[in-house]
């Protein structure tokens, strides 16, 4: 386990060491979350590096990453714990054979031995030597009742199991929650967290990210890609391409041995960047050519 960063600058530098190019504001929020031991709530468009920050934090601090992917209908049994009914049944049969008394059986049947631990409970296990990074991903995909389960974990880093008692983390884990905002998350959850809206990066930062994430990309190609994507985000599309798409696209273009952007290769690979047929139809042909023209003109000028 590595030590926590000492200042905002230190946070930014260490994130950068692990190839995460954070702007100053994000570095500030991350630093605060670590220092104040508060969960970090990240909201933003898909593909802007929200999940990646949790992964980077785990690597940077040398801690285990525990990930809880949310989905509709996710409940305590999937998120926190479930009793191992099969083993409990077996225990009952054994108890019958051995003639163990009722009270002893009742006490034994709901002990920790029979508990299947799911991500939330794993993250706050008091026997852990180093607290992990807990990533609760795409919280907006879970339904509202699930948020209520989280409240106890987020504020006190503990879970109460009716049959067993309260399990509380010895040292609080680092918690990162992400949301794509397909619905509004309840205030009670947000209130317990530090909030940050993750923006699309500006051109300079996107170029830096690209060079770090796709080593070996030609300078001119990278510059043109970034300029193209930045222009694309100004067009009113149904789904704007995120950084994840930019990186994917760069890899695709490198596979095709493209050195610069030209209308044909853009046309062929647009599906990597845009994920809606309407958006692709809109950008194909003259529109893409126009942007490429613009990108080239600006590089010469």
């Amino acid at each position: 386990m590595s030590a926590l960063p000492k200042s905002i600058d230190d946070t930014a530098a260490r994130l950068l060491e692990h190839d995460y190019v954070a702007d100053r504001q994000l570095a500030t929020v991350v630093f605060l979350a670590l220092k104040l031991q508060r969960p970090l709530f990240l909201e933003g468009e898909p593909g802007t590096g929200k999940t990646e920050i949790a992964r980077t934090l785990a690597r940077m601090l040398d801690r285990e990453l525990i990930r809880l992917q949310c989905y509709e209908g996710l409940d305590l049994a999937g998120a926190a714990y479930e009793w191992n009914y099969g083993r409990q049944m077996m225990e009952i049969r054994l108890a019958e054979k051995e003639g163990i008394g009722r009270d002893a059986l009742a006490a034994e049947l709901f002990s920790e031995r029979f508990l299947n631990k799911r991500p939330l409970l794993q993250a706050i296990d008091p026997r852990r030597s180093t607290p992990p990074v807990l990533l609760i991903d795409e919280l907006d995909r879970a339904d509202e009742p699930f948020e209520a389960f989280l409240l106890e974990v987020l504020s006190d880093f503990q879970i109460t199991i009716p049959e067993l008692g309260t399990v509380k983390a010895a040292t609080p884990p680092i918690v990162v929650l992400t949301s794509n905002r397909t619905r509004e998350i309840h205030d009670a959850v947000k209130r317990r967290c530090l909030y940050h809206w993750v923006e699309f990066p500006n051109a300079a930062r996107e170029l830096q990210i690209l060079q770090r994430r796709v080593p070996g990309v030609g300078q001119e190609l990278a510059r043109q890609i970034v300029a193209f994507v930045q222009r694309l985000r100004e067009v009113e599309l149904y789904k704007l391409p995120g950084i994840a798409e930019t990186i994917e696209w760069t890899r695709a273009l490198m596979e095709l041995d493209a050195l610069v952007l030209d209308p044909q290769v853009v046309q062929d690979t647009l599906g990597v960047l845009l994920k809606y047929q309407d958006d692709i139809a809109r950008m194909q042909g003259s529109e893409a050519a126009r942007i490429i023209e613009h990108v080239r003109a600006s590089s010469q000028g």
Binding site: I8, L32, D75, Y85, Q88, I92, F110, Y195
Partner: protein, 406 residues
């Protein structure tokens, strides 16, 4: 928790005051958030102004919509020493310079929050009291007549009575199965946890299995109401109706559109339907103006659909569909709307004319993309709408919506 230390100067006081300013500008900033901000400031240090901004926004902000307001408040609050003077200037009525642009609404709201005018605060007008005692025993024929009267031609009294009748509608919502479960008495999914608890209590004897079943909830509703001149009375009644639905059982999101789209969900939260609808009318600026259906639908699809149409929503679209613009663009937006919701019900008051035929280009463009096409010009048609909302299967829960009893 870190102990809070009083730094030199008045930082703590100022942050507290800043929190109060944000609160009165309409942002939900509790005192716990202010305390958190103070802790965070101690940890982060105060070297740079941008860090200071980042720290405060991480602690005091909890949704992106408020960021602009926050930024403006931050700029005003933490920069200018002569804040009061500036705010006073901002709030003073500009008598001599009439052609000067009025301050942006956000600034105005902020201005009032930063420097509240004393004493002469404009109280919101209470809704006018009913002038006569409502006679609850309407005769049968009166009832009958009201049921079929067109909202457009109702007198003020009839309008009020119609609202009462509307409130008496028995509402039922189509139940949608969720992926959550609850205890049940009948065999279905076995509830192993409860079963084993029971077994443990009885010394391992299996008395009876316990069961669970899927939980259902009413289908959420999204109301899109056209408030252009020709539609305004129908839309007003539909907003009353939406208010009713929202206070009965269902989750209701509502939007109104004329020349632009406005979200009115929060405005309809008020208990009293008259106050709620009056609030909508007051806030929305393009009430009874023109209409641009295509642009508004486009904006809805682009900005809101992904956020409010999750969870199998039913969309109620009330408009006459008389759009002058490009029919293919309208058809495109309708198709997208239709594909992203579970049911799209179009309420068109034009259907009140018995010989109505969809001749207008706009209507013909929209029609292929709706699941139901219904009139909404009188109480009877709204009652039919309730039946449609209850869905084909027999409703599981029936509840009367009576705002006075709520």
């Amino acid at each position: 928790m870190l102990p809070l230390q009083q730094g030199p100067g008045h930082l703590a006081e100022n942050v507290m005051h800043f929190g109060r300013v944000l609160r009165s500008a309409g942002m939900p900033v509790g005192s716990d958030r202010v305390l958190l901000a103070l802790q965070a400031l101690q940890v982060a240090g105060l070297e740079r102004r941008s860090d200071f901004h980042a720290v405060l926004s991480a602690c005091l902000l909890d949704r992106i919509e408020h960021r602009e307001l926050f930024d403006q408040a931050f700029e005003l609050f933490w920069r200018d020493p002569d804040l009061q003077g500036r705010m006073r200037a901002l709030l003073l009525p500009r008598i001599e310079a009439k052609d000067v642009q009025p301050p942006v609404p956000e600034n105005r709201r902020l201005g009032e929050a930063l420097f509240p005018p004393r004493g002469e605060r404009e109280e919101p007008k209470p809704p006018e009291p009913d002038e006569f005692e409502f006679d609850a025993t309407l005769t049968f024929s009166e009832r009958e007549r009201l049921q079929k009267a067109d909202f457009e031609t109702m007198s003020a009294d009839e309008w009020r009575q119609a609202q009462r009748l509307l409130a008496q509608l028995r509402l039922a919502f189509e139940p949608i199965l969720t992926r959550r479960s609850r205890r049940a008495n009948h065999p279905g999914h076995a509830d192993w946890r409860a079963t084993l608890q029971a077994m443990a209590r009885h010394g391992g004897e299996l008395w009876s299995l316990r069961w669970r079943k899927r939980r259902s909830q009413p289908a959420p509703l999204v109301v899109l109401a056209d408030i252009s001149g020709s539609m305004s009375r129908y839309s007003r009644m539909l907003l009353h109706f939406a208010h009713l639905l929202g206070h009965a059982d269902a989750r209701v999101e509502s939007f109104v559109f004329g020349t632009r789209l406005t979200r009115t969900t929060r405005l309809l939260k008020s208990r009293d339907p008259d106050v709620a609808v009056a609030e909508v009318v007051r806030t929305v600026q393009d009430w009874s103006g023109g209409t641009r259906i295509t642009e508004c639908l486009h904006e809805f699809n682009q900005r809101w659909a992904r956020r409010v149409l999750s969870g199998n929503a039913t969309v109620l679209l009330i408009t006459d569909g008389l759009e002058a613009g490009d029919a293919s663009a309208l058809a495109f937006e309708m198709e997208r709307l239709h594909k992203s919701c579970r049911r799209l019900i179009w309420l068109n008051p034009l259907l009140r004319f018995s010989g109505f035929e969809p001749r207008a280009v706009g209507i013909r463009a929209m029609l292929p993309h709706v699941d139901r096409f219904m009139p909404a010009h009188n109480l009877q048609s709204l009652a039919e709408l309730v039946d449609v909302l209850a869905g084909p299967p027999t409703p599981q829960r029936v509840r009367t919506a009576d705002p006075s009893a709520a």
